[in-house]
């Protein structure tokens, strides 16, 4: 490696969430496609937590192994942007912006509203959402948007916190369905939790979508292959990656980089709503 042609991406996740989920591999494929045109590559590193992520940034800066970093999964008390600033590593943020770094954003508010409108239109009056970790900024944005939109539409909404794993998707779904006032629709913040939730609901004898509607986030092969196939939000993950790569290329080539937005997600109705 010449040391000047890689862009770093660290994924911090608990070790039991093995490897990288389908979402990130598709995201990286999109980044790689655009970067390859400029002879650049993505160095993906999977670590256990933010401390290890920060250690990786220090190592990369010290060895000059990357010439930019793509920051993902912004958290509420995020120590990483300050470290990256201190190290002088150029940054593009995929998600909520950081001061001084260009961002490629997803319209979480618009997406949540689209999901709620879809469910309210089908007559659902009590819905639940199995969220990602509440330490993530975009989880909080989605939660606030959901509660606001539900209030406006006269829909009762509850949010329970998962961790993106299949186990949490299954467990929380079973808990929600065991409540005295169980929801008639559940929205999940990713694909793995939704697929596991669908299995859990079926095991509890719920007929989907007759008794229960489900919507997954992050449309991946898993959602299409589920039986019944999961209704999802339409984010084009590959395009998201391409947009991020375009910002990275401009940044490292010293050109001005504007904030960009992914197209607002729409509902892709399949067989679970």
């Amino acid at each position: 490696m010449t040391g000047t042609s890689a862009v770093g991406l660290v994924l911090a996740r608990p070790p039991r969430l093995l490897g990288a989920e389908p979402f990130f591999m598709e995201f990286i494929a999109g980044i790689e496609e655009r970067l390859a045109e400029r002879g650049r590559s993505v160095l993906l590193h999977v670590v256990a937590d933010h401390a290890a992520e920060i250690a990786a940034y220090r190592r990369w800066a010290g060895h000059r192994l990357v010439d930019a970093v793509i920051l993902v999964n912004r958290t509420v008390d995020d120590a990483r942007p300050a470290v990256l600033r201190e190290l002088g590593l150029p940054v593009v943020v995929a998600g909520e912006p950081v001061e001084g770094a260009p961002a490629v954003r997803r319209d979480d508010v618009g997406s949540v509203r689209a999901a709620l409108t879809h469910l309210a239109g089908l007559g659902h009056r009590r819905i639940a959402r199995v969220s990602g970790p509440s330490t993530l900024v975009h989880t909080r944005v989605r939660t606030a948007a959901l509660l606001e939109a539900a209030g406006a539409a006269g829909v009762e909404a509850v949010v329970v916190e998962g961790d993106y794993s299949e186990e949490s998707g299954a467990k929380l779904t079973a808990q929600l369905l065991g409540r005295a006032e169980a929801p008639s629709a559940i929205v999940y913040d990713n694909d793995l939790m939704a697929v596991a939730g669908l299995h859990a609901a079926k095991e509890l004898g719920r007929r989907v979508p007759r008794d229960l509607s489900l919507i997954a986030w992050d449309d991946s092969s898993l959602c299409r292959l589920a039986s019944p196939a999961l209704t999802t939000m339409s984010l084009d993950v590959h395009l998201f990656g391409e947009l991020v790569a375009e910002s990275v290329v401009r940044l490292v080539e010293g050109e001005p980089v504007a904030e960009r937005w992914c197209p607002t997600e729409t509902v892709v109705p399949r067989e679970t709503t």
């Binding site: 490696m1 890689a6 093995l18 490897g19 002879g39 990786a56 060895h63």
Partner: protein, 451 residues
């Protein structure tokens, strides 16, 4: 065949005894072979002819995830003192750690053992026409780092090796692993050949050259076989006796795992599913035969069909001239268009999928497969189209009254061969197997009693 393998295992164990390796375990190993029954949960690790009893124990821990010493006795057939000695060795070497207790079942609580995933690492390199994909995996075979670089193209072999060594070094530095915890590098590539592309690579000592350049032990293999081993190492085949990874990148191949062991064939080309005939009067294939799966319905054929139809090529966004993508890149673009709902792209993929499914059924019938995992970059993007078609076709599996074939999409389809190449290192360095029957030099000598 089983008898032969058992015999081979016994001989290897005997050699191990003579070499002073795992001496106390050899009787246990023989017992395990004769006494082996069908406890499915344990089968993955035990039915292999390991080169040493320590390897057998380490493999049993790997296969189980977490397991107690009592569990190891049951899984391997070794005696309690043997297990105790070998586990202590593995803990001293830092490969295994104690991790909490099993839930009490009335008796005393059992300490659980598992691999210390961060104790060792392995590098995997997949050398394909357009891309070299590098992965660094931990002891559990899980990728902790990955990078894709341009393929060798017209570069001279020596220059490619130098570049590879630099890129491997940067990957190791990038993760911050000490060199002495990296067990080696696996290098895998497609096709019925021992070096990645003909002519220029002919006679080039790729393995030794990369060993010299990196200072790491290097293992070479076929990319589909590596993908299968990676799946096996990560637990994707469960306890299946006969499993296969159907690999689709630029070409198509299959890796076979029989009784937990990859089956390579004498030349390393077993499982060349891309060159199984699916059309007796079909077009000529580059391999010299005709009607092969690859030439009829492989990614190359799909891309050619899409490029031949200007409207499709435009709708999909296939680019020409200097910006023209590799076959894999074009195939990915067609797959994404199909996912977006482009009907002609979808129907081209579905037509390819029917042939792939036919070949998959042939493979399943030949090998009496229990599990078939679809993997490789082309299935990573198009798996949602191919999987249902293959599943449907395998309803007609010959032995369906005995068992179904479980068809799945790999969890690491996009980098399967690079991850598998690293698993190759983990296997050869940590749980080596004895291959085939090897007779000891002096057949007439009396076995020495075990210590």
């Amino acid at each position: 065949m089983r008898e032969r393998a058992a015999e081979a295992a016994a001989w290897r164990a005997w050699e191990g005894v003579r070499a002073g390796d795992g001496g106390a375990g050899w009787v246990g190993l023989l017992v395990c072979w004769h006494g082996r029954t069908g406890d499915r949960a344990d089968r993955g690790a035990v039915s292999k002819p390991h080169a040493s009893s320590k390897a057998a124990v380490l493999d049993a821990i790997r296969a189980a995830g977490t397991i107690s010493r009592v569990g190891l006795i049951n899984a391997t057939g070794f005696t309690a003192p043997t297990i105790s000695t070998l586990v202590r060795k593995l803990i001293n070497e830092g490969l295994v750690v104690e991790t909490g207790h099993a839930e009490s079942t009335g008796g005393k609580r059992r300490v659980l053992l598992q691999l210390d995933h961060a104790s060792r690492y392995a590098v995997g390199v997949h050398l394909d026409d357009g891309t070299m994909t590098y992965a660094l995996t931990n002891l559990g075979g899980v990728a902790v780092a990955r990078i894709a670089r341009p393929g060798p193209g017209a570069e001279e072999p020596a220059a490619v090796v130098a570049r590879m060594a630099g890129e491997i070094g940067a990957l190791i530095d990038g993760v911050g692993v000490e060199r002495d915890r990296v067990l080696g590098a696996g290098l895998v590539f497609p096709g019925p050949r021992t070096t990645p592309s003909p002519r220029r690579w002919e006679g080039f000592p790729l393995g030794p050259a990369l060993e010299r350049a990196t200072g790491l032990p290097v293992v070479l293999d076929n990319d589909a076989t590596a993908a299968a081993l990676g799946e096996q190492w990560a637990g994707g085949f469960g306890t299946a006796t006969a499993a296969a990874a159907l690999y689709m990148g630029t070409g198509i191949g299959a890796g076979l795992v029989i009784n937990g062991i990859t089956y390579r064939g004498p030349s390393g080309n077993a499982g060349e599913l891309g060159h199984v005939c699916v059309h007796a009067d079909g077009p000529d294939c580059w391999c010299g035969a005709r009607g092969c799966l690859e030439v009829v319905a492989g990614p190359d054929a799909v891309v050619a069909a899409a490029r031949a139809d200007r409207a499709v090529a435009e709708a999909v966004g296939l680019r020409d001239g200097a910006k023209r993508a590799s076959v894999a890149g074009d195939f990915a673009a067609i797959s994404r268009a199909a996912r977006r709902g482009e009907p002609r792209a979808l129907s081209m993929l579905e037509s390819s999928a029917r042939y792939v499914a036919t070949a998959a059924r042939t493979l399943a019938n030949l090998m009496d497969l229990e599990v078939l995992v679809l993997t490789g970059p082309s299935f990573a993007v198009a798996g949602s189209v191919y999987l249902p078609v293959v599943r449907e076709e395998l309803r007609a599996f010959f032995s369906r009254s005995a068992h179904a074939v479980d068809v799945r999409l790999s969890r690491s389809a996009a980098s399967a061969s690079a991850i598998g190449a690293a698993a190759l290192v983990l296997e050869s360095e940590l749980v080596p197997l004895s291959h085939g029957l090897r007779l000891p030099e002096n057949l007439d000598s009396e076995p020495e009693p075990a210590a």
